[in-house]
Symmetry: D2
Subunit: 344 residues, 4 copies
């Protein structure tokens, strides 16, 4: 069964809106290996494109989907780096604009203390991504996509907040599906009420909502705190949601569909380089499956596999796999651990 | 027919949220008459409580309704003046808080060039009213009222914006009716898209919406521009609205009810002291009638009469009448101009 | 003996730099008398030009001196009011510029609780006067005056701070004398070290310095705290000062001259309407005498008389007297209290 | 002849005040060589301590001088890195404080296009170094040093500006010599008048002033534009300067002493890795010689040698030499190019 009917005559499969940044990770390659250590002791860093929706854009693009990006970058070499990188991946950058007041791209330095302990040191003082404004949101561009994906961090402050809301309003007007990836990051938010206000505003309009239990709790604070996963799914399906995906970290995740069904998946067993980065791989894989028209459980398995592949990597973007890579990984894991390794 | 069922067990008839300010009008009383002239030539000013929801609070309170106010004032003599004035009017001030960072109450100097030409000179740099924050919004207080009235100016900037949205979300949760008085003022807003975003957000939740045609156009910009009055009414009645009041200035106004009816009224003929201030009298009178359970047309007539009384006055607050005053005015006008003077 | 040799070929006697504001005083005239009371109970206010250097400009202009003003006003009716008022007084306004970012003139509401107790409620959030910038300071204009007067409040924040310093540097370059009226107001200053830094910077360049003992203490904090009046005078005379005037409130004031002499004066006995406003009258009178080439003690007596006249008035600007008025006042007081009424 | 008499009973030879930052240079070491290329194509970066006064502090400390640093760092791993690094170099960090409002250390990414073409991409939005405040400036600490060095960048914005001025005022009070390294960087300054105001303020108090011709032109803009090197030296020697060093880039530099002498030096011929970084080596070497009591020409030669050594390096701090290294370099160069290789 298909839960979403995408308008078929659209140029893009998906346009993503939100944060693109620069990751500066402790170097870890053939030449230099900065082993787990405090950040202050790291001497060499590798530069990558980062930011959750940017990662997902790269992920789905590598699966062959036609992708555009709605975002704001710095008017400097780092901004050009991002645009060049996207261009090279085949991602449409016609609607990535440059800051006009000297704002800089967000920088993320990651401290890797062990495979599960990590911290970030951010340069995020009036960052470029949050300068996205309503003037950057173009109805024709929204109309040219089957769906838009709103990454929740874009809602954390103005003017990006209003740009994201405008995109959602125009998506509804143009029959463009709305995917909401809650992607909560504490930075930039001023208080919990504000989070609930803006997350719920988007969640009410979304066709697909993806988030962790904690993220749904934040979303529902001013509406009805303490809902169970099933109640959550039902509540948002009372608005426009067809699929609600709720994640529980290492315990796995479940997709609730509008017809009352639910489908669960677990992570694949891997040795992690870092305790983060899986979520964007998950979203890439899951959305790819959905666009292929697969059964929900197969979408979930594909997403979970891609997530597991990413936590093994030193980057959250540059090593994202093509579909063959994910299939190969699944095959390999199943040979090692059995057919039901990730299925619940 | 009653379009709204208020919960009867509430302490307050109405809690208003939004701007309270100081009006400094050219003196015009028995002792001093500053005739129509440029502001720079005015020597003496009279101080009044001002701000649209503050005026309405005073208006309905003088009609005998039980009223509370949710707002923020300066921590100085002007803030105390407002609280003292409200206390004296019997308006509950338990939820009026003081600014903690030295912000000042908005000041409005009015330039009166003729009975129809006027300008304002505002001191509104980070004003006290816009410092209202989510922490000031208390679920129990919202639950203690039959309805809350949100004045649109509160949406113009953070943190007041989120405070107003939170109040609306809690009102929905506590079965407190929501009245949205659009009250557009250009100040503080950054662009038209932003206006449409936040006005429509509240309008979707409101049980009663009151605004001019221009205000509805602003509200609907990102949804469906160019709607007629009937389309507007129908659109918002598709959400929660039971009564939609659309004003056309001197041409009169019309209330559209959920049952498909419409009722129109015109202004009463008076000689104006100033071209503004009528709107708050209109709202006071109309809401009073509604709470009395009157027919819609009678509510409108009462509101229109109170509006006409206010444009004759040098203040928008201190001379607001009691119900007997309005009845007397209507009687007098009808004797002069006929029973149907204001009815269409 | 003359302590200062002014260049004689200058168009203006004095150009003053600094704050001009609007005073809104409780009305006190033939028609309306707002007696001593808390500000919140005052209903009617009278509008006046205010701000220390503005008052002094009006004062010396009424004594017949040729005066210009270097300042910034709001681009609204209040800004026009100030310029019109100055024009009418014969003060050159060619170098008063208008704010370009919507800043407002400072407003001062005075609370008069008794003839000696008063408070002010200020609207001074990014005020117009502090927007004076280096671009407003024109070497030719500085060169066209015998002296400039820097009012210390202009140093409280950027960009006005740098404008004032630039004016002083250009004055030194063009042989324009520098008069520093310390005029300390706590608002806008961030800490005491900052006050000492900027006051001392100007004091080092000034030919005449006028201030209270407390103001000199603030000035000297980072140099040598705890100096006596004589030490203070000697210290600044080690730089460029020829005359140092140190005030001790009701106890009187003393002028220390470069030749080691000192001259003292006391206030004239009057019944005060308010406990402030005398200082600007004092400066007007003292400077007038100095330009006339009078003996220092006569300059001081004239200044003290003008000060006493001002504390009796409801305004600090509009009732400033011409020289005949001051002479008449001195004559009257001496007849009442004896020739030495103010002399020590 | 000795031009400066340092108070001998001081704990520190020199305390430097100003900017400390993080340099992220394209990696260039045994393992990774990022050759000349646009910054956007650089994949790996090496992290170093940077900032002109920080480099000089390291430089003179490696020559055996007792050094302290007055600065502000971020309250994060990068701030700790700087303090750890200084501690390890033997630089006193007792007066390096941490930011309390989450400000970040300035980051400098260097783009190296050729040995002479380079650009920088800075993260310098409210940077930690400019948060140094008057409260961080302690009279006892200033008194504990023979001299303080003020790096001009500290004057670019408040509160660091006032901290630097306070340090200079206290240095004068405590007979601590004042060295002013103009070190002009365009960032943070608002206009040229402001530069002249604050540079000249410090230059008037300084015992030694070091800067390029362009930097002296900026300093003198509001005083007397267009001075020759000799006029410049004479002008500042009219205040407190004993030695004025004026640099002309590759053409060499000249020291003007209070007794009317002048001494010139040229760069040593080397192949540069980068077109910057020499200045801090120059200052380190020159000041070291001065403290040793050397003839001025020998101080200059030593400074010039250290400068040449630094432009060959990939960093401006970590490869600063000890005195033996500089002597060896001079010996080697002289053997290659002749005794007078750098002397004019």
């Amino acid at each position: 069964m298909k839960y979403l009917e995408f308008a078929e005559d659209r140029k893009f499969d998906l346009i993503l809106l939100g944060r693109v940044a620069i990751d500066l990770n402790p170097a870890y390659n053939e030449k230099v290996k900065e082993e787990f250590k405090p950040l202050k002791e790291v001497n060499m860093f590798e530069k990558y494109v980062g930011g959750s929706p940017a990662n997902i854009a790269i992920g789905v693009s590598r699966h062959g989907m036609k992708v555009g990006f709605l975002g704001k970058v710095s008017d400097d070499q780092f901004g050009e780096y991002v645009v060049d990188y996207f261009d090279n991946e085949g991602i449409d950058t016609s609607h990535i604009t440059k800051c006009t007041n000297g704002e800089s791209l967000c920088l993320t330095f990651t401290e890797m203390l062990s495979s599960s302990e990590s911290n970030i040191l951010m340069y995020r003082n009036t960052p470029a991504d949050l300068q996205l404004s309503v003037d950057d949101i173009d109805e024709e561009y929204i109309r040219s996509a089957k769906a838009i994906l709103i990454s929740g961090t874009a809602l954390a402050a103005s003017p990006s907040r209003e740009a994201a809301i405008k995109a959602v309003m125009l998506a509804r007007r143009t029959n463009t599906k709305i995917i909401f990836d809650i992607d909560y990051r504490s930075y930039s938010w001023k208080n919990d009420d504000e989070i609930s206000i803006y997350y719920s505003l988007i969640a009410k309009e979304a066709d697909i909502i993806m988030g962790s239990r904690e993220e749904f709790d934040l979303t529902e604070k001013l509406i009805k705190p303490g809902m169970s996963d099933k109640e959550t799914a039902k509540y948002w399906q009372g608005y426009h949601a067809k699929i609600v995906v709720i994640k529980h970290g290492m315990k796995g995740s479940t997709a609730y569909t509008l017809d009352g069904q639910q489908f669960s998946i677990k992570p694949f067993p891997v040795e992690a380089r870092k305790g983060f980065g899986g979520g964007d791989g998950y979203a890439s894989g899951f959305l790819y499956g959905l666009y292929q028209g697969w059964e929900i459980i197969d979408c979930l398995e594909f997403g979970s596999a891609e997530a597991s592949m990413m936590v093994k990597s030193n980057t959250s973007s540059h090593t994202l796999p093509g579909p063959e890579g994910v299939f190969a990984f699944i095959k390999e894991e199943k040979e090692l651990y059995g057919e039901m390794v990730a299925r619940v």
